[in-house]
Symmetry: C2
DNA sequence: AAATATATTGAACATTGTTCAATTAAATGT
DNA sequence: ACATTTAATTGAACAATGTTCAATATATTT
């Protein structure tokens, strides 16, 4: 059989990625199988390979959507102009998302491409965009400061936040400690340090 | 054929893990195959399964050794008593190791166990031991301070360092930025922040 | 209505981790 | 010295994986 107008190519891709997210959400990336996705959307495996280059390509698209979703929810945070407050609000959103989508979040860094195959540009851009969010919240600390320095400190905080979320999701934090408690100390102390540095400059 | 006294069980395990490290080092965890390990040590796949419960067990042991090696090289760092200097020395060692063993380091967090299978205790302990190293360097900042607070701040720095190493190894840092430059800012600023907080307490 | 184009299928393939009865060599007993 | 027991080693066999592609069935176009 061949059904032509059941679903457009775009609809099929959407269905496949939805199925992939669902499977990943409750079985983890390890439990994701091409045949299972096909079965879930009512098509065969051949059709799946008509939509994606290969399994890695499918996973990249799925993980790309996870990054998009994280970006979307973080960019909704309204910045008040107070760096500490704004950074905390951003971090809280970030952690809220990674907790609510643990398996999908884990999939983002569990997946690797085979040797010699580069991460596509459209994917790298999604990662880069996430880091820019942090810079906006930090900016007030550097009135008239050069953007490179702001970006640098934004990367410090962002990569740290990333590490905390990761360690928490791997359940490697002792009782009573959470990514949130770590982030609170990080932001509070780091912002204090930045202000202190600035005093030294004057 | 069955050779009994060619190698002891311990020797075989050692050979198998060495082979696994070597393959992982130049092909990544993705390229690690049970049959390849067996071939490399001159035995068949059946023997490999006599040494390890299954492939996950083999990977856990390999990654455990990577954690051990990281711990060993970091614990060699001589602490001078100056927190900033000591933390930087520790971080440098850490990053030196993760750069020199990128693939093996990546393998540590790329690997996950199937759903429902818990990380063994002996493995979790290796992770926990690593975090204690940081606490020793931080201690001078909290004369007579309670150990829990020191441990907390050690975790902040350690998880941050972890995130930076990870982002660097995933090659997601822009030109000119390195994990080392990020760590320098983190430690310098964070320690300044801690001193500032202390002033507020007096 | 015939011809063309293409979405869809599913059998087939190489490779994977895993199992286990058969085999062979060492250790032990007589 | 030989027979018996023990266990390390083998490799064929299995189910499941990602991947391919000629055959097929349905739209679309002529």
């Amino acid at each position: 059989m061949a059904r032509r107008s059941d679903h457009t190519r775009e609809e099929l891709t959407r269905m496949a990625l939805d199925a992939a997210h669902a499977i990943t959400a409750d079985e983890g990336l390890r439990g994701l199988r091409a045949r299972q996705i096909a079965r879930d959307i009512g098509y065969t495996i051949g059709t799946l390979y008509n939509l994606f280059e290969d399994f890695d390509d499918l996973i990249l698209h799925m993980n790309g959507e996870t990054l998009d979703a994280l970006y979307r929810t973080c960019s909704e945070v309204e910045l008040k102009g107070d760096p500490t407050e704004d950074l905390e609000a951003l971090a809280d959103r970030y952690l809220e998302f990674t907790r609510g989508h643990q398996q999908q979040w884990s999939a983002v860094f569990e997946h690797t491409l085979p040797r010699g195959r580069a991460v596509p540009d459209w994917y790298s851009e999604k990662v880069a965009k996430l880091m820019e969010l942090e810079a906006r919240a930090l900016a007030p600390l550097f009135p008239g400061g050069n953007p490179d320095r702001i970006a640098h400190h934004a990367r410090v905080l962002w990569t740290s936040l990333f590490g905390m979320a990761l360690v928490e999701s791997a359940e490697r934090l002792p009782e009573g400690e959470t990514a949130r408690s770590l982030v609170r100390s990080l932001i509070g102390t780091y912002v204090a340090g930045l202000k202190d540095n600035r005093k030294g400059e004057l």
